[in-house]
């Protein structure tokens, strides 16, 4: 049974609390039990509690599949890019290097690439993926476009990402602040990475209307 067309995966890093419920739940998924396929990392723990969860974005034209010399990576009819096929994967690691989102991983012990398949055993029969079901902040959300529009008026789902000259369209959406998204309905990843980060990389409004990078502890003497 194909995954219902109307159900989508949305990531909102703004909501993420870094609890790792998704990572723990991912290891319970039947296609890769015991192994988590989610990347959840602090951006820079020394300066912020900001974490970003990354699942496979399930590209319309998956770079990982395009660079695979063994044609081991398949995209299902309903748009899910699967882990490498055991019978074909030569564990060369091309996909690991090429994926602009840094998703696939090579498992040396098994000589295979594995990655998030949106809990295909669950999502293909209309269930939510494990991570999005358990996520306590709903930074990972699985549902319809109507639901997300109704529940998240402050942000807009975007699924076009620019990496230099390459623009990638994905099955998974990233929630972007509505004001930014109306101006530019895609995320320019290269430009964002080139931006000079704030001295304090956390957005903290200690003083409303004041600078967002104000140090709330500036007045504390040691």
């Amino acid at each position: 049974m194909p995954k219902p067309e109307y159900l989508h995966f949305f990531i909102d890093p703004n909501r993420c609390i870094g609890c790792q419920a998704c990572v723990q739940a991912c290891t319970e998924c039947d296609t890769h039990r015991g192994e988590s396929m989610i990347h959840l990392e602090f951006v820079e723990r020394a300066r912020s509690t900001q974490t970003v969860p990354v699942v496979c974005m399930h590209c319309e034209q998956p770079t990982c599949a395009e660079v695979c010399p063994a044609d081991a990576i398949k995209r299902t009819g309903d748009g899910i890019v699967q882990s490498a096929r055991k019978s074909r994967c030569i564990a060369c690691g091309n996909c690991v290097i090429a994926c602009p989102f840094g998703v696939p991983e090579l498992y040396d012990d098994r000589q295979i690439m594995m990655k998030c398949d949106m809990c295909y055993d669950r999502s293909s029969v209309g269930k939510k993926p494990m991570c999005a079901t358990v996520c306590p902040s709903q930074a990972l959300f699985f549902g319809t476009r109507e639901q997300i529009e109704q529940l998240r008026p402050l942000s807009t789902p975007v699924n076009r990402f620019q990496f230099g000259a390459q623009v990638v369209s994905t099955r998974v959406f990233m929630m972007v602040p509505a004001a930014l998204a109306s101006h530019e309905p895609r995320v320019d990843v290269t430009a964002a990475m080139a931006e000079q980060p704030h001295e304090r990389s956390l957005v903290l409004r200690t003083v409303p209307g004041g600078p967002v990078d104000h140090d709330p502890f500036a007045g504390v003497t040691v």
Partner: protein, 756 residues
């Protein structure tokens, strides 16, 4: 004789904590469960609904329970991996007796002999020293049925006043403040009321790590326009994106609340009509707050004046609001005052008892709410009745079939109980669901007390750190091996369902208590055949009390997916039998309650809420010249309380293996400490050596250490045994301390596994 029988390490070798892992059927993708059991998580007060996968009397995994309304399938990492506590190599499968000649300090013994020996020792000590020489310690992770039975067992069978519980470390400041202000102790609104409100004030709650499911309510409220104010000495994950962060100095919360209320009064941002009609005591509070102009408030609280003004304006001018607090403001020798300070902010605006406007306290333990209502607290009888109130005593004595004069009076709080042990007044202890050697402050003192006991029996499923001192260990039940009810954070009474049978000689805890009553020769009142029978008696015992459960049945809980108490069997107004639906929201205008009898919505005879002066007092053992930093303690998301369960679950240990000392880079630089380096934290009580975690997300004058580990990794070696004079909660959240770079790694680093 309750010194540990052999070296700690020898006990650890045999009894753990060892880490469980996904192996065997739990790793298989082809093994199907025989059934799914709908129940709840065994850990925190959120009490998320979950389905356990069961096969061959083993919990082999979980499936989200998306229909349960509170969490709709959401779980934190503890909930996801909770099933790995079952079939654990450390599980106690027999009773144990202390045996210094055994290589690991304990020898197995037949269950019946262990019961007989425990009863004989209790009898001997009580005959020599009187009934009050024996004490009981319970816990708020137990089902309400068990806590009810424990209270009854202490008073009716052991005839001792000395019973208390680990909620003393958790919920008592909130409880005492609620009772003083509202006449009833519970969160006022269901969490769904948060969504759609204008302002949410989070006072001292690391929501993301301690009550993760609440995060989605918070974020959803923000999506619908709520501004979020977070008051915390650390920039927690929820504080990171809040609209206003109040970086309060540890132990200064009451000053902040007074300063904010002062500004609200000054600007007329209060609801005079509500105050006039529905409250008493405002003028005295206003006079006290007048002593807190913004400059003084800022100086004392450590919060910049402009932030205090902004908080007052947002809170004062909102049309709807929600305030909730947790241990951050409650774990103080001023904990009740702090909680009263928040309540004053709520009452002054009149924003309570309405949809989208309320007040709540986030309970810490599974049954943090239900576990404090039905009689394991030293001063209390079922239904939130008062053990010193003659009318209450007569009612409960009647239910229990004893003479009121035979019912003991109030006992003492859990910490005072240890002081009584120290003074030799209490000679024997029976404990369940409590690990004071890790969880009480200044725990070197607690250890000395345990060593002074003449006899100590512990009921537990794993050998916890405290139970290592026991003469007898009785093998109790895991959460999934019994049924019963608990009351979660919103005050929804829910049903825990049994998934598997107890393994080996382990028994359901209520059976162990009853077996003891029988062996003591006083079986009357302890002949229940099931938790349901206990619950049915509890319904009667709570009837007419403030926490009235009389209209609740197991079937009704399942049908309604939880019932908010009070839930009456007879209409409080007419006395006619009623199929009462429960009370999701308290204090609605025009509502009737059995105390006020229609005079008003609050639970006092005049129906009015009470303003209480919430006085700021500096912490006991505050930072000083010799110990210039503030030490504060708390949780991490993957661990729970003293770690008896979570330090045995491999994936949770791996997520955050060992405690670290969180400190600001400016502080670290002053002492030449790099991230990850061994650092000594020291107070007059002791010193511990842990690795540093250098982050800008904490006040530079404060260090934070999570408290889930024992022995040389336990920050409760450092904390002070100062208690709130009313609630007796310990002051875990602040004391003076100092740090230095360690000259060498601690000895334990090469000996102990991270979870040990």
């Amino acid at each position: 004789m309750a010194a540990i029988p052999v070296d700690d390490l020898k006990i650890t070798e045999r009894f753990g904590p060892h880490r469980s892992a996904m192996t065997g059927v739990r790793l298989s993708t082809s093994v199907e469960p025989e059934r799914l059991v709908k129940t709840h998580c065994c850990f925190c007060g959120q009490q998320c609904g979950i389905q356990l996968k069961v096969r061959d009397n083993e919990v082999i995994g979980f499936e989200p329970w998306e229909e349960f309304p509170f969490n709709r399938g959401m779980l934190c990492p503890k909930g996801v991996k909770r099933y790995l506590q079952g079939s654990h190599p450390d599980r106690l499968l027999t009773a144990l007796r202390r045996d210094p000649t055994s290589p690991h300090g304990f020898a197995p013994m037949p269950y019946a002999d262990a019961i007989a020996r425990t009863a004989a020792e209790i009898s001997r000590i009580q005959q020599t020293h009187g009934p009050q020489s024996v004490a009981l310690l319970g816990g708020a992770s137990l089902t309400t049925e068990k806590t009810y039975l424990l209270g009854k067992f202490a008073r009716v069978c052991l005839k001792t006043p000395y019973i208390d519980y680990n909620g003393r470390l958790c919920m008592v400041s909130a409880g005492a403040a609620n009772k003083k202000a509202f006449g009833i102790d519970r969160t006022t609104n269901p969490w769904s009321d948060m969504v759609g409100t204008e302002v949410i004030w989070v006072a001292g709650s690391n929501v993301a790590e301690c009550s993760p499911i609440t995060t989605n309510y918070l974020w959803q409220a923000r999506e619908q326009g709520a501004k979020i104010i977070v008051q915390d000495p650390r920039i927690t994950p929820v504080a990171r994106t809040c609209d206003l962060y109040l970086p309060v100095k540890p132990g200064r919360d009451a000053a902040l609340f007074a300063g904010v209320l002062n500004l609200m009064i000054e600007h007329g941002w209060i609801d005079r009509e509500f105050i006039e009609t529905y409250t008493v005591g405002f003028d005295v509070v206003a006079r006290y707050c007048a002593e807190w102009p913004p400059a003084r408030t800022a100086e004392v609280s450590g919060v910049p004046e402009r932030s205090i003004r902004q908080a007052a304006e947002w809170w004062g001018t909102a049309k709807s609001s929600f305030l909730f607090h947790a241990r951050g403001i409650e774990h103080h020798s001023n904990g009740v005052q702090n909680a009263l300070g928040t309540i004053n902010l709520v009452l002054a605006t009149g924003r309570i008892g309405k949809p989208k406007s309320g007040y709540g306290t986030i309970v810490g333990q599974a049954n943090g709410q239900g576990g404090r209502e039905h009689g394991q607290k030293c001063d209390q009888l079922p239904g939130w009745r008062d053990i010193s109130n003659p009318e209450h005593r007569r009612y409960v004595a009647g239910v229990w079939g004893i003479d009121e004069s035979d019912l003991p009076g109030p006992g003492v709080d859990a910490y005072e109980l240890f002081r009584k042990i120290d003074r030799g007044e209490v000679k024997a202890l029976l404990s369940i669901c409590f690990n004071p050697k890790v969880s009480l402050p200044d725990n070197a003192f607690v250890t000395r007390c345990l060593e002074r006991l003449e006899f100590y029996a512990a009921i537990d499923f794993f050998l916890n750190d405290t139970a290592r001192h026991a003469d007898i260990v009785l093998p109790g039940s895991l959460h999934e091996e019994d049924e019963g009810t608990v009351t979660q954070v919103e005050c929804r009474v829910i049903k825990i369902n049994k998934a598997v049978e107890c393994p080996g000689e382990a028994r359901q805890d209520w059976r162990i208590i009853q077996d003891l009553a029988h062996a003591l020769g006083r079986p009357r009142g302890f002949t229940f055949n099931s938790p349901r029978e206990i619950f049915d008696e509890l319904r009667v015992a709570s009837k007419g009390g403030v926490a009235d459960y009389s209209g609740i049945t197991y079937e009704k809980i399942e049908r309604q997916m939880g019932i908010f108490w009070p839930c009456y069997s007879e209409d409080p107004k007419t006395g006619a039998p009623v199929d009462h639906p429960g009370t999701p929201r308290l204090f609605e205008r025009g509502s009737y309650n059995p105390i006020a009898k229609g005079k008003g919505p609050f639970y006092f005879e005049d129906g009015k809420a009470r303003f209480n002066v919430a006085e700021y007092r500096p912490p006991v053992d505050d930072a000083n010249a010799e110990y210039p930093l503030f030490l504060t303690t708390g949780r991490v998301v993957s661990q729970f309380l003293s770690g008896t369960q979570t330090r045995r679950i491999g994936p949770l240990v791996n997520q955050y293996p060992e405690p670290r000392i969180e400190m600001h880079p400016r502080l670290a630089a002053k002492f030449g400490i790099q991230d990850g380096e061994w650092t000594v934290a020291e107070t007059p009580r002791g010193a511990i050596t842990l690795r540093a975690m250098v982050v800008t997300t904490i006040r530079p004058d404060t260090i934070f250490i999570p408290y889930h580990w024992p022995g040389e990794k336990s920050p409760n070696r450092l904390t002070v045994a100062a208690q709130d004079p009313i609630s007796k909660i310990p002051q875990y959240k602040v004391c003076g301390c100092r740090i230095r770079r360690a000259s060498a790694p601690p000895a334990y680093a090469t000996i102990l596994e991270p979870q040990q």
